[in-house]
Symmetry: C2
Subunit: 307 residues, 2 copies
Amino acid sequence: MKTLVIGGCGFIGSHVVDSLVSAGGEVRVLSRRPEAFRAPVDGVDYVIGDMAEADVLARSLSGMDAVVHLASTTVPATSNLDPEGDIAGNLIGTVRLLQVMREAGVRRMVYLSSGGTVYGVPETDPVGEDHPLRPVTSYGIVKVAIEKYLHMDHRLHGLDYAVLRAANPYGPRQGRTGVQGIIGTLLWRLSRNAPIEVWGDGSVVRDYLHVRDMAALCVAALERPTTGVFNAGSGRGTSVAEILDIVARVTGRRLDPVRQPGRDFDVPRIVLDSGKARRTFGWQPEMALEDGIAETWDWVREQTALT
Amino acid sequence: MKTLVIGGCGFIGSHVVDSLVSAGGEVRVLSRRPEAFRAPVDGVDYVIGDMAEADVLARSLSGMDAVVHLASTTVPATSNLDPEGDIAGNLIGTVRLLQVMREAGVRRMVYLSSGGTVYGVPETDPVGEDHPLRPVTSYGIVKVAIEKYLHMDHRLHGLDYAVLRAANPYGPRQGRTGVQGIIGTLLWRLSRNAPIEVWGDGSVVRDYLHVRDMAALCVAALERPTTGVFNAGSGRGTSVAEILDIVARVTGRRLDPVRQPGRDFDVPRIVLDSGKARRTFGWQPEMALEDGIAETWDWVREQTALT
């Protein structure tokens, strides 16, 4: 199978590429820039360009059997500052992608949605896929709208798709800019002996999933065309306070975080019920959180030593 | 109360204006063009302009207490031809409106959503507000996304809103261009002795609501600030074949429709459960369908006589 990975040089994308290559697949990547942390992967066809440009998109899709769409121009924390840009960059961009895919006859997509934002403040614990969708970030609203366009394309034009509503992914290659999640941010800052900030009182609970487990699910969903929406999490809730404890243990550092006020778009607790993905794809997360954080810390220190 | 009615020169908007004026309210209208079928209403402040222009919007909102937002640049039948335009015109336009409302301190909105498209193919009969949202038109997807932005604004910035998911409104002042609904389209064509077209075998069932009943609910929702989503229908299903029978009876004409293939975005049957609006606002539809069609036929003939 020939797969186009849009956003394939990003944090999750780079691991999806690894999994696809390991499985013997042909892989093309469309990305706005090369990978930040390593050289291009042997055998992968890289197209560096913007999916908003029609010719770039058409060229990237040519000859492909399926698309894994992981690209986003925003993160939850920034999307509410510019919802118009969020809509223009992500929603309109994906609607165009769907049209070009129809024209090119590419009828299979795995789409990375957001388990942490589409549900809003959970009414159940854990949260299943049927939970009402009440996002409080533009990021989450745009993800929901994209999910609806995929469903429409399925109904009207036969697109097969798997929407993966990802929990909080973490692991090697998570960005150092501090917007992609607390674990990467903490470890990067510790590696530079920079001060650490924490929003709120430490009670916020999230569902953390190792990025290779996330990538494995993307590949499993690609291999077994089953149209639907699937939560992608560990099923375990971990508080910010517990993350700080694990990070202190793993790194041997004493953490003395600066406390910032809680953010209005942070829901207090969300843990995903990913039973549907487990049953449908025979998938399950393999990596224990403390092991994954230790691995990530090793990787961050390697990177820091290189610079 | 001072109310801005966006789209107040349109089919539903003109009746909302009538109801507000009757109730003694101060009314301003923002509309891209004047009413098609009558002179400006005495005492109403008309701003003719495009809500996409920031200065027009700011001027229109100045001094207002609430907004009734009825404007749309698309209809379900056209939205799938240009989903990007649908998103740009309606979703981005409304996100901008919300921002200007925040800046102006206007914290009450009644928004016209679409009961006929947001649910997709119904799993229940009738359909309640908790039914899954699986639209098969861009029109419906954009309505859903707008509902989500309203909810976000409520959670983060205290907007009070009522989303009214309207059934199929009909009645006097429905447009003659043939995109606003079967009843108006049939009557306008009959008045010109033009041939009549029907999509599908006549079995498609819809929930028809007289436009003054629709307007009355808008005003009731405006007067009683209760944030939420409300179906707005008659609760009764009527097939296309039944509509044809009623129209034949009311007009005394023999109908001989040209049958066109069914449209892929038409769901087979949808009837709304509007119990929540009835209970919350003490509202109920007053007009029987055959009476309403007879009234509309009288109005269409008057208009035809004038031209």
